[in-house]
C-alpha cells in the first residue's frame, strides 16, 4: 500500500478543514473495513487518511424514547446491537448491524461508514431509509442534512461535496404499534454480500389488524439503495394479511433495475424482491404486534 499521512483530529471543524485542504487526496477512516481494503487494493488513493474516531460525538450514540436516536457516524456496530431499547425501537437497523461481516468486522464497522461507502448492496441503508433516518453533514460552510434515501448518488458515490463529512444519523422516535425488519438473501449462512436486501417498517392501527402506514426499501437491485415509494404508500389502510404482503412485494418489483452478475441474474433478483418484501413485512407486523 502506498504510504500516506495520518491525522486524527479531535473535533469536526479540524476534520473538515483537513478535508477542504486536501480535497480528493484525503480519505476518512472510520472502522476501516472498506477503506483500508480499498487503499490496499489500489481502488482508492489517499495522501492523507483522516481518522475520525478521536472525535467524541462521532463514536457514540444517544437515545431517548421522546427524541429518538442520534447515532455518531463512526459508532461501531457492536456498540448498538446489544442495546435492548434500540432493538425495540429500530429492529431493522439492528438486524442490519448484526449481519455486516462477522464479529471482527462488527467490532469496527460503522453504520455511517456503510452509508458513505455507498455500495448498492450495503446492508444498513434500506433499514435507515425504512426508519426515515436523516444524515447530518458538516462542511467548511456549515451544516446541512439530507434524508437517507437521497444520500447515495451512484455505486460508491454519495452526496458529500468537497470538505464535507457525515457527522451523525438521526432516527425519529419509534411510533406506537410499529415494527420493522431487514432481511438479505445470500447463498451462505453468514459473511456474504447481499444478492438482494429488503427492509420494511409498518405502523398498525390500535386493533393490530390493519396497516396505517408503511415504508419499504431495497438494496442490490439498482445503482443505489431504493425507497419503494409506490409500494410503501399503497400499504396505508391495507389489512395486515399475507395477501397484502405479497401484493406489496409485487409493487416493489416495479421500481427495480437489477444487474446480472455472479451472485444472480436480474430476473432472479427481481423474484427475490417479492420474496423478501413479503417476509420482512410479515416479521415487521409480528414485531409491531408484540413489541408494545
Amino acid at each position: 500500500m502506498k504510504n500516506f499521512e495520518y491525522a486524527a483530529p479531535a473535533n469536526v471543524e479540524s476534520a473538515t478543514a483537513l478535508l477542504e485542504k486536501y480535497g480528493d487526496a484525503a480519505k476518512i477512516l472510520a472502522g476501516g473495513t472498506d477503506i483500508i481494503v480499498q487503499l490496499r487494493e489500489g481502488l482508492r488513493a489517499a495522501d492523507v487518511v483522516i481518522d475520525i474516531k478521536n472525535i467524541p460525538e462521532i463514536v457514540d450514540y444517544q437515545y431517548s424514547a421522546d427524541v429518538g436516536l442520534q447515532l455518531g457516524a463512526a459508532t461501531p456496530c457492536y456498540r448498538i446491537y446489544g442495546d435492548e431499547e434500540l432493538a425495540k425501537a429500530y429492529p431493522a437497523v439492528l438486524d442490519s448491524t448484526r449481519i455486516i461481516g462477522g464479529w471482527q468486522i462488527q467490532s469496527r464497522a460503522s453504520v455511517g461508514g456503510n452509508l458513505c461507502n455507498a455500495s448498492p448492496a450495503a446492508d444498513s441503508i434500506p433499514s435507515l431509509i425504512a426508519h426515515q433516518a436523516t444524515c447530518h453533514i458538516a462542511g467548511p460552510h456549515g451544516r446541512r442534512s439530507v434524508a437517507a434515501q437521497d444520500f447515495c448518488t451512484g455505486p460508491g458515490r454519495n452526496t458529500l461535496e468537497q470538505g464535507e463529512m457525515l457527522v451523525a444519523l438521526t432516527l425519529p422516535p419509534s411510533k406506537p404499534n410499529s415494527g420493522s425488519a431487514y432481511l438479505r438473501f445470500i447463498p451462505r449462512n453468514e459473511m456474504d454480500i447481499a444478492v438482494v436486501g429488503a427492509a420494511s417498517w409498518v405502523q398498525l392501527d390500535d386493533s393490530g389488524e390493519s396497516i396505517q402506514s408503511g415504508r419499504i426499501a431495497l438494496a442490490a437491485v439498482a445503482p443505489v439503495p431504493l425507497y419503494a415509494e409506490e409500494a410503501s404508500s399503497w400499504l396505508s389502510g391495507q389489512p395486515a394479511t399475507a395477501a397484502t404482503f405479497v401484493e406489496a412485494g409485487e409493487l416493489a418489483k416495479n421500481i427495480v433495475s437489477p444487474i446480472s452478475d455472479m451472485r444472480g441474474t436480474a430476473e432472479y433478483r427481481q423474484h427475490l424482491v417479492g420474496v423478501l418484501v413479503k417476509r420482512t413485512l410479515k416479521i415487521a407486523v409480528e414485531r409491531a404486534r408484540t413489541n408494545q
Binding site: 504510504n3 499521512e5 476501516g32 483500508i36 481494503v37 487503499l39 462477522g102 471482527q104 449462512n189
Partner: protein, 161 residues
C-alpha cells in the same frame, strides 16, 4: 525514507512502543516489527480472521487496523493466551479435539473463541458457529473446532464452579 510514527500501546499486559509508517497494518507491526508472529496473514482483507487480536476488549482483524490507530490501546494476541507456560483450556481442547490441521487459522480461532467464552460462557452450537463466522478454516470442516470450543466451555465451567 518514509516518515515513521511513534506509537505507545499495551500488548499482552506489557507496555510496548514501536515506530511504523501510517500505511502499516497492526498485523504487519505485530509480525514484522515486534516479532509476534502468532497472528497469521491469511487473506489480508478481513475475510479469514487468521489475524484476529483483541483491541480494547473486542476482537478485530488486525490486517484491517492501522498500526498508528492503536496509540494508547490495549491489545491481546494469541501469544498472551497461555499463562506461565501453561496452555489455556481452550488451547488444550483444540489440541485434544484435533481442531487443527495446518494450523494457519488456529491463532485467530483461539482469540475469537476465548472472547466468545468470556462474553457467553455457555454458547449453543449455533452461537459458536455464528460468532466464529468471521474465522475461516480450509482444513478441518469446522465440526472439530465447534466441539473443542464446547469442550473448553464445560471445562471452564467446572474450574469456576
Amino acid at each position: 525514507m518514509s516518515k515513521k510514527i511513534h506509537v505507545t500501546t499495551t500488548i499482552n499486559g506489557e507496555p510496548i512502543e514501536f515506530l511504523c509508517e501510517a500505511r502499516h497494518s497492526l498485523l504487519e507491526v505485530l509480525r514484522d516489527s515486534l516479532g509476534l508472529t502468532g497472528s497469521k496473514e491469511g487473506c489480508n482483507n478481513g475475510n479469514c480472521g487468521a489475524c484476529t487480536v483483541m483491541l480494547n476488549g473486542v476482537p478485530v482483524d488486525s490486517c484491517l487496523v492501522l498500526g498508528v490507530e492503536v496509540e494508547g490501546a490495549t491489545i491481546e494476541t494469541v501469544e498472551g493466551i497461555a499463562q506461565n507456560g501453561e496452555l489455556h483450556p481452550i488451547q488444550q481442547c483444540f489440541l485434544e479435539g484435533a481442531a487443527l490441521q495446518c494450523g494457519i487459522c488456529t491463532p485467530g480461532f483461539l482469540v475469537a473463541a476465548k472472547a466468545l467464552l468470556e462474553k457467553n460462557p455457555h454458547p449453543s452450537e449455533e452461537e459458536i458457529r455464528f460468532n466464529l463466522a468471521g474465522n475461516l478454516c480450509r482444513c478441518t470442516g469446522y465440526d472439530k473446532i465447534v466441539r473443542s470450543v464446547q469442550a473448553a466451555a464445560s471445562q471452564l465451567q467446572e474450574t469456576t464452579s
